[in-house]
Each structure stands twice: as structure tokens, then as C-alpha cells.
């Protein structure tokens, strides 16, 4: 659960990449972040994982100085976030950012390099962002995935020590997504700190060495992917229902121990807090199941257990805005 650090890179950039000390952020009556304490060390690759509205974008906005915390203190590279961005050591790829119509990709890359004190080389940057063939294209003619690559170029143009990526692969197809993360891993391996928000579990599992799980503005899990999986005592009970028959979902959901149901055609996967009780319940209900499997939880289950498992009634509090 302890964040791993890379001592070689600490000298390069100072003490911590990101420090949140009791950071809260409200939008009107909505609490988007609730008393967050978080420290991210130089060199870590951290996934901020959570469902929509968990507060991921708000947290990144505060780390970049786009938003002020309502209470608490945020530091980025030891500086006020706005000053860290101004220093040129931070790069970011935001969900809501766009490109100016009429500008060519090559011009935008030139601009991105011109904005930073120690930019990456032009050819290297075009290569790394996968833009070499798009240099003459105008911003408004790019597909969602291509525009995403230009925004990625902005994020890494300054050869930054610290990179924030808010849902970076949202508009990408499977192949581009894989290529993007391969590249990101190499980028992180150069001793840089990478923090990305995602709601794709496999991305967090495969890319990050630490996952911070956010739910409704609070940190509900924090550790390596393996450590998070180990915290889960839930099991998956999977079986096939008889052809042309079987039970209704409500019946399955009401079995003892069941806290989640995933149904694909005749195959049902139950997430259970007590697999023994659930299987006894299945038998008692007279369900003619076949191919029964009981498996340990994967990260999927861990995530489900952390964010949407049974919880205390939350009273009047509403889900936080993203």
C-alpha cells in the first residue's frame, strides 16, 4: 500500500509531485471533493479511478490551479498549482479542452513547443504523439482520436516532470488505446510522474503502479492494483441458467449474500459477500444451474465493492459533480 518512489528522480524535481491537505471543493450545495488528503511522490504512475461524478476532474482541476479548493491546501511540485503550471514543468490533457478552428496541426505543435521554456524536439514530439502524418491537417477536420493526440502533444511538449491526463483514451479505439498506454509507460519510465483519471479498470490495472479510488468526493481505496484486489473478500459465483427457462433477475439478486448481478444471456455472474450462503440459496431456490464456478474477486469486483457496494444511507447528500 505504500507508494513506491524512484529516488533517482527526487533530486530532479523536489519533494512531492502532488500534495492535498484536507482539500474540499463545493459547487453550491454539492460536495465534489470532501476533505481529501493525498500525497503523490515523484516518479509514481497513479490512476485516479472512480465512476462518473466521483470527483476525478475536480481533483485534477485543483492540482492544475484551474479550480481553487473551498477549504484545504493543494500543492503541485511544492508550489501553488497555478505557479507550477506557469513554470512549464507540468503538462496536462483535459477532457473539456479543444483546439482552435483554422489552425494546422503542425502550427499547434509549434505553438505548444513555443509555450515552454525547455520543449521536446519537434520531430520527437510529432513521433511520440503520432502526429507525423497529420501536420498539414486543420484542427476542425480531425477525428476525436486525432484531436486527442494533438492535446496529448500539448501535454508533453514541455518535456514535463509531471503529467495530468483526464480520461485520455475516451475517444480512442482499442488499437490506439493500447498504443497510447505503451507510449505512456515508456514516458513514465523516464522518471516522470503521471497521474491519470479513468473509469476503465483495465487501464488502471495495467498502467498504474498505484490506484486511488474516488467515490462521491472521498478516497475509498488507495494502493497497488494487487493490494486493492487483496482487500476484497467478495467472490464471484458464476453459472449458466437452463436454456429457455431460468430465473428472473430479481430472484437472483435476492439470494443470500448477493450484492451484484451481471447477466449475459444465459450466463449469470453474482457478486457475493458469502459465496457459501449464495450457493446454498441457489440450491434451495430450485434453480437448475449448470457449470457453477466460484472465483476470487478481480479488480472489477474490488472496484464494485469499494464504490457501489452496500453502504450506510447517505442522507441528503447528493452525488458529487465531476
Amino acid at each position: 500500500m505504500t507508494p513506491s518512489t524512484h529516488p533517482s528522480s527526487i533530486a530532479r524535481s523536489g519533494p512531492t509531485a502532488v500534495a492535498f491537505d484536507g482539500v474540499s471543493r463545493r459547487f453550491g450545495d454539492t460536495v465534489a471533493l470532501d476533505e481529501i488528503d493525498l500525497g503523490i511522490a515523484i516518479g509514481e504512475t497513479v490512476a485516479l479511478l472512480g465512476p462518473n461524478g466521483a470527483g476525478k476532474t475536480t481533483a485534477i482541476g485543483i492540482m492544475l490551479g484551474l479550480l481553487e479548493p473551498s477549504t484545504g491546501l493543494a500543492r503541485t511540485l511544492g508550489l501553488a498549482p497555478h505557479d507550477a503550471v506557469r513554470s512549464g514543468r507540468v503538462g496536462a490533457m483535459l477532457q473539456s479542452a479543444g483546439l482552435p478552428p483554422g489552425a494546422r496541426v503542425g502550427e499547434l505543435v509549434d505553438l505548444a513547443r513555443g509555450l515552454y521554456p525547455a520543449p521536446a524536439g519537434r520531430d520527437a514530439l510529432l513521433e511520440r504523439a503520432g502526429l507525423a502524418d497529420l501536420v498539414e491537417r486543420r484542427a476542425e477536420t480531425l477525428s476525436g482520436g486525432e484531436a486527442q493526440r494533438v492535446r496529448f502533444a500539448f501535454a508533453i511538449a514541455g518535456d514535463p516532470d509531471l503529467v495530468f491526463l483526464d480520461e485520455p483514451t475516451v475517444a480512442m479505439d482499442v488499437e490506439s488505446r493500447r498504443a497510447f498506454w505503451d507510449d505512456m509507460r515508456r514516458f513514465a519510465a523516464e522518471g516522470r510522474t503521471v497521474l491519470f483519471a479513468t473509469h476503465y479498470l483495465d487501464e488502471a490495472d495495467q498502467v498504474a503502479d498505484r490506484i486511488v479510488v474516488l467515490d462521491r468526493g472521498r478516497i475509498v481505496g488507495d494502493g497497488s492494483p494487487a493490494a486493492l484486489k487483496a482487500t476484497v473478500t467478495e467472490r464471484t459465483v458464476r453459472f449458466a441458467l437452463p436454456d429457455g427457462g431460468g430465473s428472473d433477475d430479481p430472484v437472483l439478486r435476492s439470494l443470500p449474500g448477493v450484492i451484484g448481478l451481471d447477466r449475459h444471456g444465459q450466463t449469470a455472474s453474482l457478486l457475493s459477500r458469502d459465496a457459501d450462503e449464495t450457493v446454498r440459496g441457489l440450491v434451495a431456490a430450485g434453480i437448475a444451474f449448470r457449470h457453477l464456478e466460484v472465483a476470487g474477486a478481480d479488480l472489477d469486483a474490488a472496484f464494485l465493492a469499494l464504490t457501489s457496494g452496500p453502504r450506510e444511507p447517505v442522507g441528503s447528500s447528493t452525488p458529487a459533480a465531476a
Binding site: R86, S87, S96, G102, A103, A112, G114, L115
Partner: protein, 263 residues
């Protein structure tokens, strides 16, 4: 930390400012609207009213031959259009989220606005130069190159209030209405400021309105330079007053837009 702060704020802003100015100029020079409003229109109108329709030609106006007088009018007209040409791009960029992208780079907000204004003013130069060239080619207007360069410099600097107005409209209006708002205010300024027909030909009431507008004094400034006179302090004062007023309004709208993007 204070040292870091001042070090990161002072000098490096010049580099980002120039990088951004370069993008803006390259982008605008490709914009067809810019070319039509600021170069094709004024040159066409100039040729039409000085060479093709001799009936409209009059004797000297305000001490200048008609083809010189109207040359300055059309140069002023093109320059105002060029200076205001940032209105629609700003409005569409705001919708696209471009400002948000820039906000996570080291480019300070003030450098972004300054680059917008500076590019608008720089873009008056091709318009002014080409209208001047049309005067030489079509009517063999005898103004020395040096004099016309002085006109270009004076009007490029004097275009500041129109650049500020373009920014203001871009931050005030949405992407759908910014172009319309720009064209409407551009033509109002041109017509009421006496760029199409001299203010001397206006009814008294309308002429009074015209004399308050920056466009009237902007063209006057150009005519003083062409006539080899020192600029009239009134012209400079009125242009400067409009520049300050519109500049403050544009800065206020920009700040409001930035705040709304932050929440």
C-alpha cells in the same frame, strides 16, 4: 518560493507571447473572411468609386483630391475590418474549449489577450499596403512610398480601439452571433464615420454622431499623414479614449469568461 514566482512570471512570458502571436497571424492570413473584408472589398470599392463611376468623383474634399481622399477612406475601412477580425474566431474558440487548453500551459492570460490584440493590429498592415498599391496602379496616385509607409504605421497603431472592439465582441457574443455582431458594428462605424461618403455630405445631426466615432478620427489621422501634416491632437485624443474604454470593456469580459471557465 517568491523568487521562483517572479522568475517564472517576468521574462519567459515574451516567448509564449510571440509563439502565440505567430499562430494567430498565420491562421488569420488563411481566413477567407479576413481576405474578403479587409482586402477585396476596399480595393474593389476604391476602383469602383474612383475609376469606374466617374459621376461619383467630386472635386477636392478636405483639401485632398478625391482619389487620394477616398484611398485613405478605403485604407481605413480595410484596417478597421482587419482589426475587428478576431471577434468570430474568439467566439468559436471559446466554444471549442481552446482557452481551457491554454490555461494549462505557461501562457499567462494577459499574454494571450495581448497576442490577440497585437495580431489584429498586425493584420491591418497587408490591408493598408494593398489598398495603397491599388491607388498607385489604378489612379497613379502620387503619394511617395515613404508617406504611405507612414500612413501604414499610423493606422496600424491607431487601430487599437477596433482591435479591442473585436475582442469585446468575441467575449460578449456566442459563436453564432459574433460574426453578425462584428459585421453590423463594422459597417456602422464605416458608414457613420464617413468612410463611404464624406461626413461633409451628411445632414448635420448624422454628422454630429459621426464626429464622435473613432472611425471618423481614424480616417482623419490617415489624411493628415498623407497631406504631410502633423496629426490633429483631437483625432489622437478621441482614438485613445475609445481604445481605453473598449480595452477596459474587453478585459472585463475576458476576466468574466475566464472565471466562468474556472468554476
Amino acid at each position: 518560493m517568491l523568487a521562483t514566482r517572479s522568475a517564472t512570471r517576468a521574462l519567459p512570458s515574451v516567448g509564449p507571447f510571440l509563439a502565440y502571436l505567430r499562430l494567430e497571424v498565420r491562421r488569420s492570413l488563411r481566413n477567407r473572411r479576413y481576405l474578403v473584408f479587409t482586402i477585396v472589398f476596399p480595393v474593389m470599392l476604391y476602383v469602383l468609386y474612383t475609376a469606374i463611376l466617374p459621376a461619383t468623383a467630386s472635386g477636392p474634399v478636405a483639401g485632398l483630391p478625391w482619389d487620394v481622399y477616398f484611398l485613405v477612406s478605403m485604407a481605413a475601412y480595410g484596417a478597421i475590418g482587419a482589426a475587428m477580425s478576431q471577434a468570430a474566431p474568439i467566439a468559436t474558440e471559446r466554444r471549442a474549449g481552446w482557452a481551457r487548453q491554454l490555461r494549462v500551459t505557461p501562457l499567462p492570460g494577459i499574454a494571450y489577450v495581448a497576442a490577440k490584440a497585437a495580431s489584429a493590429m498586425l493584420l491591418t498592415v497587408p490591408a493598408l499596403a494593398l489598398v495603397g498599391l491599388a491607388g498607385q496602379v489604378v489612379n497613379h496616385v502620387d503619394i511617395g512610398v515613404g508617406t504611405w509607409v507612414a500612413v501604414i504605421v499610423a493606422l496600424a497603431i491607431g487601430s487599437l480601439p477596433f482591435a479591442a472592439l473585436g475582442l469585446l465582441l468575441g467575449y460578449l457574443l456566442d459563436a453564432e452571433s459574433a460574426q453578425g455582431g462584428m459585421v453590423l458594428s463594422f459597417f456602422s462605424l464605416a458608414i457613420l464615420g464617413g468612410l463611404f461618403a464624406p461626413l461633409e455630405a451628411f445632414p448635420a445631426g448624422l454628422a454630429t454622431i459621426g464626429r464622435v466615432l473613432p472611425s471618423y478620427h481614424f480616417a482623419n489621422l490617415g489624411r493628415s499623414v498623407v497631406a504631410g501634416q502633423l496629426p490633429d491632437p483631437t483625432d489622437i485624443a478621441v482614438i485613445a479614449a475609445w481604445a481605453v474604454g473598449l480595452g477596459v470593456a474587453a478585459a472585463w469580459r475576458y476576466a468574466a469568461d475566464e472565471r466562468s471557465g474556472r468554476s
